[in-house]
């Protein structure tokens, strides 16, 4: 295991009460999750997608868009796909064309966009020749070096300014205009925010391209673009330097451009990405083959970048009942963990998601929430778990909402959560106003300071309702994992095991962008990335996943 603090201290910043769980069940759950993940990996390793090929070009250094605002990466990949020559990958024809023309990556892409160059005419029937191999490796290494350099820079920042104290205070900005977002983010940082998440414009997850440039129009959020990433990064570095804290930046590597956005985020030193193996399938009706392939590449890049991924299990409870469906969250976090490990992500990069969504008006709702929060905490020692605030039961009654969020903050600090997405009293009504965020941060500051040592002082009553509830949920999760492992993840998704939503393997958006790799498929970044992850001991020498939790819950 790497011992460098990249994003989070390996241990939580404080203690939490211990919860007695059946360790044989925990070990069985993990083994089942690994089996499920392995099957997914075997499926994805022999496939690629248009988004993955565009990511290869981004690593090569292709940037920018045509006058008509079509990204050059899309132009190139689309040209080859239309010609029916994409199954061997974009890398070989692209590198061959560069050698033939003497052009740089973006220059070449501009020629393609101008209609003066046909990449298909450079697509060879066999494995790439040595000159192409060498150029591909040089270009891919250039992109991977950019990512590694940003990771080093983050390490340097955090060595100087610290990693922050958990639970880290995470707030969103969502004005639609990156310049307003910057103002909102800087204010939030001054009020105590540790993490700024820029919510994306609604609908971006379904775009099969990443928009270009700094954007000032968006609905419910702001477009994720490389320029927007850069503007926000610079603003947070500046204000963080002044405050003496490293302010983390979060965005979304999800939807149809999952690996591309992970790559662009890694280039611009984002620190976190919403990145879930199942979320897009369930909640955005993205084709499951597409998302499962894309998540693998996005997570491998995140592993290299030292990015923390945030998974989206919290969302299951926004559609399904929080008490009845609690076990689906547990099962899904175990699957997400196994898939993340397979991609080389370390414990400190696993921001596994869960939520506080039990109806607050029922009696003992807090006991249910404590049981669930402690169960997830106990299953993933050291992982910076992401705890999501009440959303389903927020009503526009801002005073009650503020109290619900306060209870959430108390549960978060007492159970040692890593990343606390602060609830907004105005949730369900509008995207946060500047002072909504101030209310939220003031509440969190007060409760986190006051409750800092609570977790280490309290003990959970043996055989009491909290312990029983947690154990029952784990048992139920194990049952679900047995079913999924027996039938395979894709079948399980088509049967509606998660969030009461059913998706078919051939349904949803983006399937036309998935293809089986031809025998002569080549992506030079794939092997180079594996080498780097192995060298950093994020993967075993044979490319298999580390399993630091082996032997049950630590």
């Amino acid at each position: 295991m790497s011992v460098v603090c990249t994003a989070f201290p390996v241990a939580p910043g404080f203690d939490c009460p211990s919860l007695a769980l059946d360790s044989a069940q925990v070990a069985r759950g993990r083994a089942l999750a690994r089996k499920i993940a392995k099957e997914v990996q075997q499926f994805t390793e022999v496939r690629s997608t248009v988004a993955i090929e565009r990511t290869v070009l981004r690593l090569f250094g292709v940037e920018g868009a045509t006058d008509g605002e079509v990204p050059l990466c899309n132009v190139c990949v689309d040209q080859l796909q239309v010609a029916g020559r994409l199954t061997a990958g974009i890398a070989q024809p692209f590198c061959a064309a560069m050698l033939a023309t003497g052009l740089q990556p973006t220059e070449l892409a501009l020629e393609v966009a101008a209609g003066r160059l046909d990449l298909a005419s450079f697509a060879g029937p066999h494995a790439p020749d040595p000159a192409v191999l060498q150029l591909g490796r040089t270009l891919a290494n250039g992109g991977l070096d950019r990512i590694a350099a940003q990771r080093q820079q983050r390490d340097a920042f955090q060595a100087r300014l610290g990693c922050g104290v958990q639970p880290l205070r995470y707030v969103i900005v969502a004005s639609g205009n990156i310049y307003e977002d910057v103002v909102q983010a800087r204010v939030a940082a001054r009020q105590g925010a540790d993490i700024i998440a820029v919510i994306r414009s609604t609908g971006q997850s379904l775009l099969d391209y990443v928009p270009e440039g700094a954007t000032t129009e968006g609905f419910g959020g702001t477009f994720a673009t490389q320029d927007n990433f850069r503007l926000m990064r610079a603003a947070l570095d500046e204000v963080g330097e002044e405050l003496g804290r490293y302010i983390r930046l979060c965005n979304y590597a999800s939807g149809l451009c999952m690996p591309e956005i992970a790559c662009m985020g890694a280039f611009e030193r984002l620190d976190m990405m919403l990145n879930d193996a199942l979320y897009g399938i369930l909640f955005r009706d993205i084709n499951m083959q597409r998302t499962l392939c894309d998540q693998r590449v996005s997570r491998r890049l995140s592993a290299l970048a030292g990015l923390v991924i945030n998974t989206g299990e919290d969302n299951y409870l926004t559609t399904a009942d929080a008490i009845e469906a609690a076990h689906t969250v547990v099962a899904s976090t175990l699957i997400n963990e196994a898939l993340a490990r397979a991609a080389g992500l370390e414990t400190g990069q696993l921001g596994l998601g869960h939520a506080m969504e039990v109806n607050p008006l029922i009696e003992n709702s807090l006991s249910y929430e404590l049981a669930q929060a402690m169960l997830i905490r106990t299953l993933f020692p050291g992982a910076p778990l992401k705890f999501m605030p009440p959303t389903k039961h927020m009503t526009g009654n801002v005073m009650r909402g503020h109290v619900q969020d306060a209870m959430f903050n108390l549960v978060g600090v007492a159970t040692g959560q890593g990343i606390q997405l602060l609830g907004m009293a105005t949730e369900a009504m509008h995207t946060p106003h500047m002072h909504d965020r101030y209310w939220a941060l003031e509440s969190a500051n007060l409760i986190f300071a006051g409750g800092r040592a609570l977790g280490s002082e309290l003990a959970i009553k043996a055989g009491g309702s909290i312990e029983k509830r947690a154990q029952a949920t784990l048992t139920e999760a194990l049952g679900l994992l047995e079913e999924i492992a027996a039938e395979g993840l894709m079948t399980a998704l088509s049967r509606g095991h998660f969030a009461d939503i059913k998706r078919s393997p051939d349904g949803g958006r983006g399937q036309d962008g998935v293809f089986e790799r031809a025998e002569n498929y080549w992506d030079p970044s794939e092997a180079l990335l594996s080498e780097r992850l192995i060298a950093a001991q994020q993967l075993h020498a044979d490319g298999s996943a580390h399993d630091p939790y082996a032997g049950g819950a630590a």
Partner: protein, 272 residues
């Protein structure tokens, strides 16, 4: 308000702060003021930020803004430096303005509130086939929590959703459905009612999107004969009518409220 008898004698022309006399004074419904702890004190709380640096001047600017709104005696209870040249203020002030409650008119749903049994009974009385309901979150909106709460069997607030009713055949198209796809589906499904959920409201995109649906429906000849219903936290029946819908539902709406309206509207539509 219950402790005040609701007569309408001539109200006081000034805002009294004390000396209410024996027993509660009656509320003058023709001149109603905000209430803090004394009738007609006009007390209000305001909460807002100003894009000026935290200072005495910022507080005075907040008070001045209140005076410009016609509020009296604005008092800054709390001021906070948000940084970056912004100040947050909580202000209490007295509002001397009145409204004539007897002249207030709000459009209300033209439907009795039925329970699930009542909905199914009314349907059975008038129809032999199921009522076809098509639901969607339209435009860019990806938030299906509202439409799901109304339509899915699981329902909301202890009430089953419309899928659970034997009188409804429900098709939920889910998130991010464009208006033209919705209407194509409506034609293919021969929908009796269309339920549109709009949660994202930034820059009033919900209003333009909903209005565009009705325009398109009219152009396609699909407005008549179909009951159009919209719902979302920032919608109301009044807004829905304004946008050309038959009904609108706001936050906290339960499935039976929607079912009651839909069954009555569809039955009425089919009367000769």
């Amino acid at each position: 308000m219950s402790k005040h008898p609701t007569q309408t004698p001539p109200g006081p022309s000034l805002v009294p702060l004390r000396g209410a006399g024996k027993g509660p004074r009656p509320v003058n419904l023709q001149a109603v003021r905000a209430y803090g702890d004394t009738l007609d004190d006009g007390q209000m709380m305001l909460s807002f930020a100003l894009p000026v640096p935290f200072s005495e001047e910022a507080k005075e600017a907040g008070r001045e803004l209140c005076r410009k709104m016609g509020l009296l005696e604005p008092q800054v209870y709390h001021a906070h430096d948000l940084g970056e040249g912004f100040t947050y203020l909580t202000i209490y002030a007295r509002n001397p303005h009145t409204v004539d409650f007897t002249k207030i008119s709000v459009p209300k749903l033209d439907a009795r509130r039925l329970d699930r049994h009542g909905v199914e009974a009314l349907w059975a009385e008038h129809m032999t086939r199921k009522i076809r309901i098509l639901g969607a979150c339209t435009g860019d909106d990806a938030h299906t929590v509202g439409i799901d709460a109304i339509l899915n069997v699981k329902g909301y607030h202890g009430e089953k959703g419309l899928e659970a009713y034997k009188c409804f055949e429900v098709k939920n198209l889910g998130a991010q459905v464009s208006n033209d796809v919705l209407l194509q589906e409506a034609r293919a499904f021969a929908a009796d009612a269309i339920l549109v959920s709009q949660v994202v409201t930034q820059k009033d995109c919900h209003r333009s999107n909903l209005a565009a649906l009705i325009d398109l429906a009219e152009a396609e000849g699909l407005r008549a004969g179909i009951t159009y219903v919209c719902g979302g936290p920032r919608l109301s029946h009044a807004i829905a009518l304004e946008l050309g819908f038959d009904a609108g539902f706001g936050a906290g709406t339960t499935p039976t409220e929607v079912a009651s309206f839909v069954v009555q509207a569809v039955v009425r539509e089919r009367q000769p």
